[in-house]
């Protein structure tokens, strides 16, 4: 359960004030697949950064699974990201020097699994995203779609309660986008993970349980 109250992010440039997010109230229930959409510059990424604990709101409170994350220190937030959240970036953001398996291995190992457990989890999860045969491939040796699937596997490996994805299909063609969307939906249905995904593609919307529309940093509809 995600509860954001009166979330605002204000960037100040001298006298000019940019209200990237302007008093947003948001509630996302466990297991929901929520899409966030809106025009460019409407604050979608900003909102997702707040939900992903990559940024702190200027005002407002955010409670995730009963934890007021605004009260966490840096270390606490890092741990929270590691254990409870999976973040998928638009540009995959894999470590280019690590193979598919090693990219996934890293967060699971840091979480405290043994090497053996990690290796197993990595293989399982790579099978899940259909890349069992890409275990030893470096990111540079994989297509964009494959890289994004590795990134999703990395986000999933610690079995997070919430997956956040910021336009994960923006760099992919329709075929690969469909694979990714189908995959995320499957995870959402089968593993009961909450998914919040930013997308401004009209045709993606059929995947979402609910669509939140942002405009000028405010929620226009779907805020619940």
């Amino acid at each position: 359960m995600i509860i954001g109250s009166n979330l605002a992010k204000i960037y100040g440039k001298g006298t000019v004030e940019v209200r990237a997010l302007d008093g947003v109230d948001i509630r996302i229930r466990k297991g929901e697949f929520v899409g966030i959409t809106g025009a460019s510059g409407s604050g979608k990424s900003t909102l997702l950064h707040l939900l992903g604990l990559l940024d702190r709101p200027t005002t407002g409170t955010l409670v995730i699974d009963g934890v007021d994350v605004g009260l966490l220190g840096e270390r606490g937030r890092t741990l929270f990201r590691l254990n409870r959240l999976g973040y998928v970036f638009q540009d995959y953001a894999l470590v280019p020097e690590l193979t598919a398996e090693e990219n996934i291995y890293l967060p699971s190992r840091v979480r405290g699994m043994t090497v053996k457990e990690c290796t197993r989890a990595c293989r399982d999860i790579l099978s899940l995203v259909g890349l069992r045969d890409r275990v030893d491939f470096l990111p540079g040796e994989m297509s964009g779609g494959e890289q994004q699937r590795v990134a999703i596997a990395r986000a999933l490996v610690n079995n997070p309660a919430i997956i956040l994805a910021d336009e994960p299909c923006a760099n992919l063609d329709t075929r690969n986008s469909t694979i990714i969307l189908d995959l995320i939906r499957k995870l959402n249905r089968e593993l009961k993970q909450t998914v919040v995904m930013v997308s401004h593609e009209e045709w993606h919307q059929k995947y979402f349980d609910r669509v939140i529309v942002l405009k000028d940093g405010k929620i226009v509809s779907g805020g619940d």
Binding site: H49, L54, E74, T78, A93, V95, R109, V110, R111, L138
Partner: protein, 400 residues
Amino acid sequence: MLEEEQVAFFLASRLITRGNKGTILLTIMIIAMVFVNLIFLPSIIAGIVVLFNQQNIDYSYGNLVIEPREDQLLITNVKELQQKINRVPGVVASTPRYTGAATIVSKGKSTTPLLIAINPEDEKQVLKIHTGIASGDYLNDGDTGQILIGTTLAGNKDQKVDRTPTLGGVDVGKTVEVTFRNGITRQYRIKGIIASGQFSVDSSAFITRKELESVLGTTDTANQILVKTQMTGNEDAMRITLMQYGIQEKIWTWQDKSADFLKSIVGSFDIINVISTIVSLVIAVVVIFIVIFINTVYRRKQIGILQAIGIDRSIIIKSYIFQALFIFASGTLAGCALLFVLLQYLTASPLVFPGGPVAPVLEPMLLFRAIVSLFIVSLIAGFLPSWLTTREDILSAIRG
């Protein structure tokens, strides 16, 4: 927490083995060069100092110099004293000398060098002057009417070449006229020319003590006894031992006696050495720091992403420290190899200085200092940039 180090090491090893090989190799080479630079000149200078000191010991003073007692001008009973000295444990040999100024004339050219009266055989046990005979022969104990002339004192036919007063290019077999301080003048045949490379030797003349005693009408006197000991470096202790064995004459170490100009040369080299070391060290610090720093800053985005997916900054920092330490270790090793090759080369074809060939002296302290300073620099260069990058907010790091 060892887990953390394991993950950091895993990350570091992959970043190094799969990162840009060229960059890493270049960085390692730079550190190797810096390392050599840090060691090479100081070791040459140390070699020069060792050479100078050894020359002093081998050609001028031996290890210890014994001089007349406080209230006396000469050492008397030389034979007895010499025997007493030679019995002291740690003493290899000793040689009495009578040193004084005398005027030497050859074909109208006159100069007043140091004339040193020696026991040729004793000298051989203590000094190496006998190895420096350039032409002719060394003296024998019984020689009279014969003289050895240093090559600088002998001079050149073309006197413009000479920088000090000389005899204008005298040679073996020629006769020179020597006037002693007591006014007696004698003719001497030149038996040999000495070219030792040591200025104080090459600008002096040598006769036997037997000859001098016949001139002065003295017996068994000297104004110096040079002593060679088994070890160089423990002269102060040997001095005390000699005193304990009842030697009441004044005892100096070769360091005490070394000419002031030599001391100041050594002092100057020390200063050059310190300055060169400091400069090399500063260069080392700056170069290593810049190279590793740039390398880390270049991975700023990646560091941001690692933090975003929940990797603690301490793991990231440690992995960059590991990388820096790997580069340090490889660089130092490569530097050692380079240095080894260089030293081999210099041993095979040594640098020749006035006074002889200089072998680089690798002091362990120097090596230790270079390694420790490079280690510390690498540590800081690994730590600081990753610490700074993980401290800024994640989003700006990810944006690159």
